[in-house]
Amino acid sequence: MQKFTTLTGIAAPMPLVNIDTDMIIPKQFLKTIQRSGLGKNLFDEMRYTLEGEEIPEFVLNQPAYRSAEIIVAGDNFGCGSSREHAPWALLDFGIRCVVSTSFADIFFNNCFKNGILPIVLPQEQIDVLMADARKGANARMTVDLEAQTITTSDGESFGFEIDPHRKHCLLNGLDDIGLTLEKASSISSFEAKNAALRPWA
């Protein structure tokens, strides 16, 4: 997994609430057996016409936001399915950070497994960040994971909360499975105890 330390980049404003995983990556692109290559279909039905032409009004098609690395979004971003194709598509496009008032649980988890940082902030601060994102390509925000801050192009800075374990894994690009397998003996002793207590399981 790619480390996440600091990021300075363009933020795309997406104020719509309840942006769901079907919007982020429609199901016809879930038939891949790989993780890569989904960026071109990120937000496919909002981004392209039925004929495959770009829809110029869509934010990521606008010249200022074509290389955005941050999304500032409306409430409940990533609701819907468990498809990890959603963060894979975001990452493949180049998005490393999404900021919203709230995220759906599974999407939120999936981000951390892919080096993407989801940041939860209160509405008033999202409003400030959304206004900053609307300024376009010259307004670059900075995210500092170590310091747990996000800073607008005007230098206004907000702190954010993050689970310490997840922060550690993101900062160091750590693989969860490797960490868990270090506890293999705990898993074995749980299994032994469980076989006696709940033999039907």
Partner: protein, 473 residues
């Protein structure tokens, strides 16, 4: 004496393998369900690192998301090349890693959340995960069940555990009894309508109250299935005699002395008097009407007797979202919901693809025909549901009414297989999501119960099922 605990607390406590100082837990997973769409990258990860599946006997795979449901599906030409590759990959992964498997050719094949309970893999007090958000379904048995992403699928395959932080406890109580024509689907949609799609975020919901106790296991599965649409990590219902009766004799349920021991343990699985709830929502069962969704979020719920709302009825970001929904759905504020014309009806999915759902729809359709020009299909949740419906004569009722009688799969719920809406087509669906493009790009979805779907198929517009119940009585 220990402090009173909720059902969620009890299941959680019995599955903690390790707790770190910061509260992060390693949770043991009793059952891991796997399907073809969210698993290929996970198995590939195992191969690349030379890891094995830690507990293949607790891992169950079935292809469901993109298998065709037409009767000629054994003919490989009915599948697109990429779908065929995904199903072939699951065939190979199941064989290579020695996990339990129900291939397309097996009569027990079906939607993973219907197969798990049907085969007795899902039992009370277990932890159940699957790379699919509707894993919440299994909570109907009082098992802690939730969806996970593909990285977590790989984590569970390799370690039989999941890294988790505990969610908060939310109680949703449905008091009293439901009125005639009102179903489990109306309960679960009404709860989402009341709490919003993010109302359950950060919580595990326990559904309780008389109306929940009075539901069959099928109905309880419908309620828990959509906990995720309310944002909750999982939905739970405490097991009772109905739960035990459903589980008894299932192929993978315990037998003999093990059964007795299991029931004794299961009887301890309830929320203690005085347990702490972080959030409580109460609805009166008798206040719940047959409902329908008008927009593109499952929270856009109204009684069928209502009218299409106006964006000005909402506040904040929902104003813009409501306008976008109305434009997408092609609806006008003030329009009666029963005036909305329907051209497609879909009965099936992990929400409403069980035998009881087919019975409810067939009861409305018996002796009737669907509207001219209507496209209607029934996709049973599993091969065994399909066989039972044929035995009970339900299949013939559907066929006589003009429905297509399909083979088992997820089908038009997420439209990954060829069962899709065309742009502008409008569907009354018993599935769980009305998102833009969910059933096909430009397709318009109204979520309803099976009886309401059957009623719409007959009349050609959204219809209050209670009117047709009077006719059939």
């Amino acid at each position: 004496m220990s402090a009173p605990r909720t059902l969620y607390d009890k299941i959680w406590d019995d599955h903690v393998v390790h707790q770190a100082d910061d509260g992060t837990c390693l949770l043991y997973i009793d059952r891991h369900l796997v399907h073809e769409v969210t698993s290929p990258q996970a198995f590939e990860g195992l191969r690349m690192t030379g890891r094995q599946v830690r507990a293949p006997e607790k891992t169950i795979a079935v292809p469901d998301h993109n298998v065709p449901t037409t009767l000629d599906r054994e003919n490989a030409a009915t599948m697109t090349e990429d779908s065929r590759i995904q199903v072939a990959a699951l065939d190979k992964n199941a064989k290579d890693f020695g996990i339990n498997y129900y291939p397309v050719s097996d009569v027990r094949q079906g939607i993973v959340h219907i197969v798990g309970p049907e085969q007795g893999w899902t039992l009370p007090g277990m932890t159940v995960v699957c790379g699919d958000s509707h894993t919440a379904t299994h909570g109907a048995f009082g098992s802690l069940a939730h969806g996970i992403g593909t990285s977590e699928v790989e984590h569970v395959l390799a370690t039989q555990t999941l890294i988790q932080r505990k969610a908060k406890n939310m109680k949703v109580e449905i008091t009293g009894s439901l009125r005639p024509g009102v179903t489990a689907k109306d309960i679960t949609l009404s709860v989402i309508g009341a709490t919003g799609t993010a109302g359950g975020t950060g919580y595990v919901i326990e559904y309780c109250g008389q109306a929940i106790r009075e539901l069959s296991m099928e109905g309880r599965m419908t309620v828990c299935n959509m906990a995720i649409e309310g944002g909750a990590r999982a939905g739970l219902i405490a097991p009772d005699e109905k739960t035990f009766a459903y589980c008894m004799g299932r192929p993978h349920a315990p037998k003999g002395a093990k059964w007795e021991a299991a029931v004794a343990y299961w009887q301890t699985l309830f929320s203690d008097e005085g347990a702490h709830w972080d959030k409580v929502v109460t609805l009166k069962g008798e206040d719940i009407a047959p409902v329908v969704t008008w927009g593109t979020s499952p929270e856009d719920v109204l009684p069928i007797t209502g009218v299409v709302p106006s964006p000005s009825d909402f506040t904040g970001g929902k104003v813009e979202a409501a306008q976008r929904s109305l434009d997408y759905m092609g609806l006008t504020p003030g329009q009666k919901l029963t005036d909305i014309k329907i051209d497609t009806v879909f009965i099936g999915s992990c929400t409403n693809g069980r035998i009881e759902d087919l019975r409810a729809a067939a009861a409305i359709l018996k002796g009737k025909k669907i509207k001219d020009g209507m496209r209607a299909m029934v996709v049973p949740g599993s091969g065994l549901v399909r066989a039972q419906a044929e035995e009970e004569g339900l299949a013939q009722i559907f066929i006589d009414a003009g429905f297509e009688w399909r083979l088992a799969g997820c089908s038009m719920c997420l439209a990954m297989n060829p069962d899709q809406l065309q742009p502008g087509e409008r569907c009354a669906a018993t599935s769980n999501r009305n998102f833009e493009g969910r059933q096909g790009r430009g397709g318009r979805t109204h979520l309803v119960s099976p009886g309401m779907a059957a009623a719409a198929a007959i009349t050609g517009h959204l219809t209050d099922v209670r009117e047709l119940m009077v006719e059939n009585a």
